[in-house]
Symmetry: C2
Subunit: 112 residues, 2 copies
Amino acid sequence: MKSSNLYKGSLTTIILKLLNEHDKMYGYEIAQKVKELTKGELKITEGALYPSLHKLEAEGFLDVEVLKVDNRMRKYYKLTEEGTRETVKKLSELEQYITTMRALVNPKFRIG
Amino acid sequence: MKSSNLYKGSLTTIILKLLNEHDKMYGYEIAQKVKELTKGELKITEGALYPSLHKLEAEGFLDVEVLKVDNRMRKYYKLTEEGTRETVKKLSELEQYITTMRALVNPKFRIG
DNA sequence: TCTTATGCATAATAATCTTATGTATGTATT
DNA sequence: AATACATACATAAGATTATTATGCATAAGA
């Protein structure tokens, strides 16, 4: 989604957390939200976003509802109960990742 | 390298930073160091480590010196000048990544 | 002797993302 | 009227990165 490939593997976490905060969102909206919240720093591409949403749905983490608004289709996604649990898990993995990377990269954050 | 796939894309950053701190290291040593510094949280696999070192060398970021110690081969890697510049770049990308992810995931860290 | 540790390497496969392309509607600009 | 841009979905080809499995070789410990 960006020049830096550190974002690889983060998309699922981002999607789940946004849905956790906003209850119900559609794909295009998620992409706009990410751009807005990161001040344009991170732009998620459609080629990554839509397959990722489909996968989360297939895994039972999202429910879908298709609506037509202004004569345009929108697929609204919302977290299932299992999706909420997965969100919690992903967020703690992110915290763990940051802790671990700080320990590796910043001597003053070394563990123990 | 771990269950959480957030680490995907981080290996280069880790290698460069460790070499920046330790001047000269060989592959196996890097793997051990990572395990030690993260208290076993992160284990980098050989199948990821060695190709990554070869790539960094091919890109001109690392110089190699082969030594035989205790009748065992060791390939010592050290940063080139370009490699040092790349390290600085990768570390700032990591800080940017953390800032961006916090903005997305933690409302109280929102940018602006 | 067999396992574990040290030390390198690569091939097959999987996961994730980029780039490119396609469809369709609505709005703004020239 | 024509062109560009925004909205909204989708997928296929290719690249990147990592996992898993395997291989070679030496040394130490049970």
